[in-house]
Symmetry: C2
Subunit: 141 residues, 2 copies
DNA sequence: TTAAGATTGCAAAAAATTTGCAATTTAAAC
DNA sequence: GTTTAAATTGCAAATTTTTTGCAATCTTAA
């Protein structure tokens, strides 16, 4: 269970496992696409805004979540620790967010890159913007 | 000259070429790394904050700039129209931002991806986070 | 069960962004 | 060059987002 892993992770990092943190995590697990902070504040309506902010910061610090920039705002989603590694394509016309896994070929390119620059990548993000298949097939509709 | 191209682009889109816009553009051309909005507001200290915001929005709308999420904030930089296509690696320990061009192999993967999902990508961003060569070679210093 | 320390809610402050409007600037027509 | 209509700016105020201090509450480990 994800939630169990989360509890362990929180403890391992020396923090308390509070009902607010569990709930915020639950909310995050339910999201199909990355979520703005405002939306999370809204969804977590039984806890204080400040608590949401403080916990999102904590989550990011201990690697539970990460932020990505999709469309026009940055958004939050569970990190690879709790969700399989993936990237996004965002449709500028309908707003759809399509997640995809990265290819072996892409990983290989990434490794080449790290080698070339002596850079040690702990994470990476790849975001595409454009138009999804249903939007550009309806272009003249 | 970049600035000439910028002037033409502004006109082509039906907007006025004001000294504020020219100056903001100049500032952008001088940045070696992506810049937070706050920093731009600071650099453009002879124009009103609201003007900076309004013009950055305009620049984004007509494709002069784009935003990327680097480190912890999103930042603004000139788009491919005014700067050669590239991506970034950000060092989490010293904050250095290294720009790199994308490889042919990577482009190929991208095209495969578009084909697979019928997605028409008008732009994409790839951001790496991690530690740069000088930082991890000094890890034990 | 208790005590120490972490976390929360609340209220207020600070920071970031947006908006309305009068004054100014721009571009195009004369 | 003037003139004129429309776009843009600066300013002040409003709004929205994020952060902070602190007392009350909750969590953990003993």
């Amino acid at each position: 269970m994800l939630i169990e892993k989360f509890k362990r992770h929180i403890k391992k990092n020396g923090y308390f496992k509070t009902k607010e943190r569990l709930e915020l995590f639950e909310i995050l697990t339910k999201q199909k696409t990355p979520c703005t902070i405002q939306r999370l504040v809204h969804l977590a309506d039984n806890m204080d805004e400040a608590t949401v902010y403080r916990n999102l910061e904590l989550f990011e610090e201990i690697g539970v979540t990460h932020r990505i920039y999709t469309g026009w705002k940055y958004k939050v989603e569970l990190s690879d620790m709790f969700r399989s590694h993936h990237h996004h394509m965002t449709c500028d016309s309908c707003g759809a967010v399509i997640s995809f896994e990265e290819s072996v070929g892409f990983e290989r390119e990434l490794r080449k890159l790290e080698q070339k620059y002596g850079f040690n990548a702990s994470s990476h993000s790849l975001e595409l913007r454009g138009s999804c298949s249903s939007c550009h097939s309806n272009r003249f509709a």
